[in-house]
Symmetry: C2
Subunit: 511 residues, 2 copies
């Protein structure tokens, strides 16, 4: 199956089974916004709770054998606008954008590639400069369009199979940009000059829509943590090294939302700022890169699906001495990888900025060393909604050998529904026995009781929902008090004593 | 202690112990926005999880003895703007507001009361018309101001102890409003005419700030549920009666945010829409009023702190046949009660509106009855952040007899930290034993290990944090393998076998 058709199948399954719906589909949808359905919200909550447990409720054991000290926080989405001046988002958090007068299309200028296509007009050699959105098939699409564009210009294209490598639109000067054909244009010169477009959503708090009331929806949860650094220090008796963790929604007015929930305008983040002494910061950076990779593996993501990419020196923010991305092999990036989580050494940058802008000391006093300093920060920042996408991609399995070939092989602990409880047929006392088991199990696990349709159909529905176990009460149950437990991944069934079902599940789900 | 000083103490404790911080305090704060600190987010998550469990993971048993069918959902905060036209929020979700030219103050016009104060000028009787913000002491404050205002007008006030009952500002006609003294004005006629102010935050999705891109931050989570009604029906095999539940942030650009987190501009809701047949709807309405009241009692809110207020006929929305508020005796409303949760019979209003505006059928087909209809809706809608305030108010206890008099008597299941684990002194093997116990317990419960300062101080800190149990390893532990367990509420201590501590906690926290 091709990568794009895998992605189509995942999107279709997500809608059909209630993982992800397009937001406001009833009104034609809203580009870049998504709703999480009954199964989606359960899966998302399982990821959220696993992260929160690993960070706040039961943080990792540190190099000294003691648990790390990490506390939780939940800050407002709307903060004082000065926050974003101090953080740099008000000035720098923008993408270059061009509009096309003809097609009314909008493009990220740094994602447009421009090819020089040789043509001929009245016996003279000319060059058509044709833009396309950067993609593997960009050259192909440009060659396809070249015929038509050359004729429209009164000439004809030269015969070429291969073009020179393209240049990025933003590398052209203003004069050169004026003769470019836009990706959806029939004539050259329809693209505007690139302009910087700030990605923060704006609003006004208070009745007057003036500058004094302008506010922004946070583009990341991290800054809320820095704003409360002093409050946490004063109220929680934490000592460096310690972390502050937060899960919540963020908003980015993306020019081109794309790839399902991968790049959306409203999304959820799981971010932790780990405050440490400057001299220990490198050690903690390495600790967190490894700890975060291990966490993803623990959710059932295969080692070969993940990659750690260390940023090159010229790619680092000026204040960062090291940053690594944990990348995942998404169907739409394969065989390449795309970002899943970033672990950044941010130095003392953020606290220093807020100290300067607020004129409030944000130093830490180390009593043992009798030393006052601004802590350095290691930031593991992951996307929660992106994590849901990764788990769906990772779990999605198409097995032609099975009657219902679509299966979500989710890690049992991440699965929205833990067990399906079925009577084989809807009579002979089977429903009563199965329902009694369901009533017992539901106190502890999300289970689904289902007595309708053929058993094969019921198994198939649970396979698509990612339910790891199906327990069926059948004709033998009344005789020997056993049931079958079917494993979603293998399709194998084993007979288990009715009494032993809670223990069977506990062994696989509770450890 | 007076109600207002109780409230001040709760606000101070909330900040000091890390329950609630003012958002962006570093930059002078932002009116109507709050952050939840390390203890606050744990308490809020406990309430959130209790609601989600009671609604989605393990819904109540219905009148037929079977569990109700309720699924979860998590929809985007930003939806298609047509949503708010259909729901009525775009037209009707507004407050009347007046500004004062002189004081620059802004007031809810329907919360201003106007008194007629008799005065005398040049031997003639005149009337000063003086406004105040509605409150118990409004008349008193007007009488105080009357002296000064009458002299400024060149007269003197008549001697009166009691004024005629006031009228609400909006009940005056435009001419009458022109001669009113504003609540903070020195001359009459400085108030603007009331104008309707829509409470939805506005923004733009996409690069162009034009009408076509205007979006709103949701003022309630409920509409997201109605938008996905059909998607849930198509993907989840639910049958009427069933519910869809959602927890998430909502935003209202309140004219006067007030009373701590009670009325803030960014807040969190827990809403459930229960879809049922029209003929059963009254029965379900009554079911949910009772079920929701029981739920609050189960969180440790005392019966006498709660009140059910049934809306009068003239108070009901035109589409509603019954609505009840579950009210709480807040310190700032006492001896009156204020809203905590609303349970509304919304009829078929919302689905009908969205069906009409989207031109998409939102009917349900009842196979057994062979009947097609738009379900009626019962909506229990509670505030999560308001629930946190209620639990803080309910738990706050000032006991002069105790060395550290401030105690949060939170229900053990709601408490952010379940147990403090202390060595009596930081030597003689006590820290090792206490730390080993801590390492064992932390796998299951949020615990705090603390070896610093006098034991009384450590108990007091846990009392303020609402921690129900403190386990202390002391000199006897090495001899007989017992520890003391101290109960926060009574201050009593009992000796418990070291081995038995996990069971002691499990019996009190896990049921």
């Amino acid at each position: 199956m091709s990568s794009s058709s895998v992605m189509q199948k995942i999107v279709a399954l997500s809608k059909r089974r209630g993982f992800v719906f397009q937001a406001s589909e009833l009104y034609g949808g809203l580009n870049g916004f998504w709703d999480y359905g009954p199964l989606g919200v359960l899966l998302k909550n399982n990821i959220r709770d696993a992260w929160w447990r690993a960070m706040v409720l039961s943080p990792p054991i540190g190099p000294d054998g003691n648990p790390l000290s990490i506390v939780g926080l939940d800050t407002a989405i709307i903060q004082h606008p000065q926050t974003w001046v101090a953080s740099g988002h008000a000035q720098g958090f923008s993408d270059p954008m061009v509009d096309c007068h003809e097609s009314k299309g909008r493009y990220r200028a740094d994602q447009l590639v421009v090819f020089d296509v040789p043509a001929e007009k009245g016996g003279e050699k000319i060059t058509l400069r044709i833009a396309a959105v950067a993609a593997d098939d960009a050259e192909e699409s440009v060659l396809k369009r070249a015929q038509k564009l050359a004729r429209a210009a009164g000439g004809r294209p030269a015969k070429v199979d291969k073009l020179d490598p393209p240049v990025v639109y933003t590398a052209l000067n203003a004069e050169e940009q004026k003769i470019v054909y836009g990706p959806d244009a029939s004539a050259p010169g329809t693209l505007t000059e690139p302009r910087q477009f700030n990605l923060m959503f704006e609003s006004y708090a208070g009745a007057l829509k003036d500058e004094s009331n302008k506010v922004y929806l946070r583009p990341e949860t991290a800054q809320g943590i820095f704003l409360d650094f002093k409050n946490v220090l004063d109220s929680s008796r934490v000592k460096v090294p310690f972390g502050i963790a937060q899960i919540g929604k963020s908003f980015r007015n993306e020019v081109n939302p794309r790839n399902f929930v991968f790049r959306s305008r409203e999304f959820e983040q799981m971010e932790m700022e780990f405050f440490c002494s400057p001299e220990d910061s490198r050690k903690w950076y390495e600790f967190w890169v490894q700890a975060r990779l291990d966490w993803w593996l623990g959710l059932g993501v295969k080692k070969e699906s993940l990659k750690i990419r260390h940023h090159d020196a010229d790619e680092l923010a000026f204040y960062s001495t090291a940053t690594a991305d944990i990348e995942y092999a998404y169907p739409f990036t394969a065989p390449d990888y795309g970002e899943l989580e970033g672990v950044a050494h941010r130095g003392a940058y953020d606290l220093t900025q807020h100290q300067n802008h607020s004129k409030t000391k944000l130093e830490y006093f180390d009593q043992e060393k009798n030393l006052r300093y601004i802590p350095h920060v290691i930031e593991p920042a992951a996307g929660l909604t992106r994590a849901l996408l990764v788990l769906l991609c990772e779990a999605y399995t198409f097995d032609e050998k099975r009657a219902s070939p679509e299966i979500l092989n989710l890690h049992p602990k991440m699965a929205p529904i833990k067990a399906g409880i079925f009577p084989l047929v809807d009579k002979d006392g089977m429903p009563e026995t199965a329902h009694a088991l369901y009533m017992d199990l539901r106190k502890k696990y999300v289970c689904q009781y289902d007595a309708k349709q053929a058993i094969g159909k019921r198994y198939a529905r649970m396979d698509e929902a990612g339910t790891p176990y199906c327990v069926t009460v059948d004709g033998e149950t009344a005789k020997d008090q056993t049931v079958t437990v079917r494993d979603r991944t293998t399709g194998n069934q084993e007979r288990v004593s009715l009494d032993a079902v809670p223990r069977f599940l506990a062994e696989r789900l509770d450890s």
